[in-house]
């Protein structure tokens, strides 16, 4: 992949006719969607329609699950991340991920970030990097006196912000978030949502969420996923538009039913 960060494509990522398979089972069918730079793109839809599967395909995390494969393209900065010459490790370096369950390393708060930076050859001032990352993740004030305590000693919401700090410490271009607030209480959720608004000034965010209010509150664009075909149990994006349009005057009847709470 080119390391040109100043590319002028308006869309940093784009899925083109993307099919995702678990073995011979086609979990996601025919996805076409674009991810705009410095915007938050939400993926919503009922359980089991392939939201997380689609998100994992955006940084090749899906390959860590045995038997997965894809058809079609996922373009990043104009290049297919599944092209044979592309190293998946570099893809995950440049397209970071925050998971549903907070998963800090069982190391100190400081080491969570320092280890991540070190493996990517960071040679600068580590203390500064740790502080800046924690500040950007709105966690610094809460942990500055206990940097050398275990990351696991924090509360769930703090752990999740530590994971975000860890993800942004290596300056990814896109951050994928897989239901980042679903395991948190409303206050911690609010903090994460405020944080996302801050982060989108520098990063592009794609978020999967179960929570339609959350999608409506934080995102600029929304992709509505649903099982395309009830027999095949294969999910697809049925509508992709401005979040405002999706939640006020969706074109698809199924989207309207879903966002107004009539089913799903």
């Amino acid at each position: 992949m080119s390391t040109n960060n100043n590319s002028n494509h308006k869309y940093i990522m784009e899925a083109q006719d993307l099919d995702i398979f678990y073995g011979s089972f086609k979990a996601v069918t025919g996805v076409n969607m674009k991810v705009e730079r410095n915007r938050i793109t939400a993926i919503i839809g009922p359980s089991g329609c392939g939201k997380s599967t689609l998100l994992r395909a955006f940084n090749r995390m899906n390959e860590l699950y045995a038997g997965t494969s894809i058809k079609g393209q996922v373009m990043f900065d104009g290049e297919d991340i599944y092209a044979p010459q592309v190293d998946p490790v570099e893809v995950r370096y440049r397209i970071g991920m925050v998971f549903q369950k907070p998963n800090p390393f069982p190391k100190t708060i400081y080491e969570n970030i320092a280890w991540t930076a070190r493996i990517h050859g960071y040679k600068g001032k580590m203390d500064e990097l740790v502080e800046n990352s924690l500040r950007q993740a709105a966690l610094w004030e809460e942990v500055k006196d206990k940097l050398h305590q275990s990351g696991l000693s924090l509360s769930g919401g703090q752990q999740q912000r530590l994971c975000i700090a860890r993800a942004i410490s290596i300056k990814p271009e896109v951050i994928l978030m897989d239901e980042p607030a679903s395991a948190l209480d409303p206050i911690a959720t609010l903090k994460i949502e405020e944080l996302m608004q801050e982060l989108k000034k520098q990063y592009t965010i794609v978020i999967v969420t179960h929570n339609m209010q959350q999608a409506a509150r934080v995102s600029d664009y929304t992709a509505m996923m649903m099982l395309a075909d009830r027999q095949a149990r294969s999910g697809t994006v049925i509508e992709f538009d401005d979040t405002k349009i999706i939640f006020t005057k969706p074109k698809d009847k199924r989207t309207e039913d879903y966002v107004t709470g009539r089913f799903g």
């Binding site: 940084n59 995390m61 860590l64 045995a66 490790v89 570099e90 995950r92 370096y93 440049r94 970071g96 991920m97 925050v98 998971f99 369950k101 998963n103 800090p104 390393f105 069982p106 190391k107 280890w115 991540t116 493996i119 990517h120 275990s150 696991l152 994971c163 860890r166 993800a167 290596i170």
Partner: protein, 413 residues
């Protein structure tokens, strides 16, 4: 509480359900009690053999060795040496002198030689702990009647001297030092072979190997190998290490001339054979420890762009190491107690010198115990009981080390 109104189609069976629970509870408790009884019986049996009365008679009455009224135990070193010179044949005396010159021996050592070679106490009766405690007067009466010259002592067969002395054919002076060193040397090579290979294979199978038919066959075979009888590993060790690799295991290719004619039946062969024996156990235990590392941790590492190796080295292994160590120590404990493969490999049963290199002849604690229990005289059974206590202490201290190591590594976070 008022009784619940019976809903049609349901019956109130709470009493039956509770009675069933109590029955199962009693069964589980009984199983535990049976296990504990077996363990206590085992320990009592060993302790019973390791202590008790011993009656022994001197071949030569020490009183006849007094010089001018000075008893033999109070004589000076020079007097004792002179005594040896006069009582032993000149050949035997010279041999003792060339083993270790008398000038460099302490008085205590010379006195020990006097006891071994001139006074020569012979055991005429041995009693276990239980009869020694309950029938002391009868025992005393029997000894006075049958062996008027014999001395009766209450002894612990397990003494610090027992651990420090080399093996001899005299029960009163026999020790387990030779066997203890043999066991430690053997285990060293067992660990050196089995730990790195076992952990390496476990990492490969868990983290790298894809799920195809070849790897499934390998996995099944490892699981089966863990159940192969140990004597079969002995035959394998005999064929590979003792016979085929003799130049290596006898130290020949390192230019060593073997004065003990071990012919490959060395510490190294024994250790490597036991290493093969425990290798499948270590692989399986390490695999389980690696598998227990949660997926979320691997995801976290891969999610920040770590490579497979960085993930394994920095996250999977540190989290799996307590489990890997516990599994390894358990496997090594099994190896320490093994006798059958070492018999086949050709461990010595009667040697009195400590192993000094990987290419020495050796015996081990279980071999020593086996050899002593197969002797007809009672006193050797007491020696075996004492040696079993030494073996148990060795195992317990190894397990203690495992616990300490595990706690230390677990505190990393």
């Amino acid at each position: 509480m008022k009784e619940k109104v019976v809903v049609e189609g349901f019956e109130n069976n709470l009493g039956t359900r509770n009675r069933k629970g109590v029955l199962w509870y009693a069964l589980f408790q009984a199983s535990t009690i049976v296990g504990i009884i077996a363990l206590v019986a085992l320990m009592l049996n060993i302790i019973n053999g390791a202590f008790g009365y011993v009656a022994y008679e001197a071949k030569v009455d020490p009183d006849t060795l007094s010089i001018n009224g000075v008893a033999v135990q109070d004589q000076s070193k020079e007097q004792l040496v002179a005594l040896l010179q006069s009582k032993l044949s000149s050949g035997a005396f010279n041999k003792l002198n060339s083993d270790k010159p008398f000038e460099s021996r302490t008085r205590e050592e010379v006195y020990q030689v006097v006891i071994d070679r001139i006074i020569r106490p012979q055991i005429v009766g041995v009693w276990n702990l239980w009869p020694s405690l309950t029938q002391a007067t009868e025992i005393r009466a029997t000894v006075v009647k049958d062996h008027p010259k014999a001395e009766l002592d209450f002894v612990s067969w397990l003494t610090s001297g027992f651990v420090k002395r080399p093996q001899t054919s005299e029960p009163l002076t026999a020790g387990v030092r030779t066997a203890l060193f043999g066991s430690l040397w053997t285990i060293l090579f067992t660990i050196l072979l089995a730990f790195p290979i076992g952990v390496g294979a476990a990492i490969y199978l868990e983290e790298y190997a894809s799920d195809n038919w070849l790897n499934r066959i390998i996995q099944t075979n490892i699981n089966n190998l863990a159940g192969v009888p140990s004597i079969i590993y002995g035959i394998l060790g005999l064929a590979i290490f003792v016979r085929s690799l003799e130049p290596l295991t006898s130290g020949e290719i390192f230019g060593l001339v073997d004065p003990t004619t071990a012919n490959g039946r060395t510490v190294l062969s024994g250790g490597l054979t036991l290493g093969l024996l425990v290798l499948p156990l270590i692989i399986i235990n390490a695999q389980e420890a690696i598998r227990a590392v949660p997926r979320s941790l691997r995801n976290a590492s891969f999610g920040v762009g770590a490579t497979k190796w960085q993930t394994v080295w920095s996250h999977v292994l540190p989290n799996a190491i307590p489990g890997i160590l516990t599994g390894t120590i358990l496997a090594v404990s099994r190896a320490i107690g093994e006798t059958a493969p070492l018999i086949v490999v050709g461990a010595s049963t009667a040697i009195s010198f400590d192993p000094s290199s990987p290419f020495s002849k050796f015996t081990t604690l279980p071999m020593q115990i086996y050899q002593w229990t197969s002797r007809p005289q009672d006193e050797f059974r007491s020696l075996a009981a004492a040696a079993i206590l030494v073996l148990l202490m060795l195992l317990l201290s190894l397990n203690a080390i495992a616990v300490v190591l595990r706690n230390r590594f677990s505190r990393r976070f």
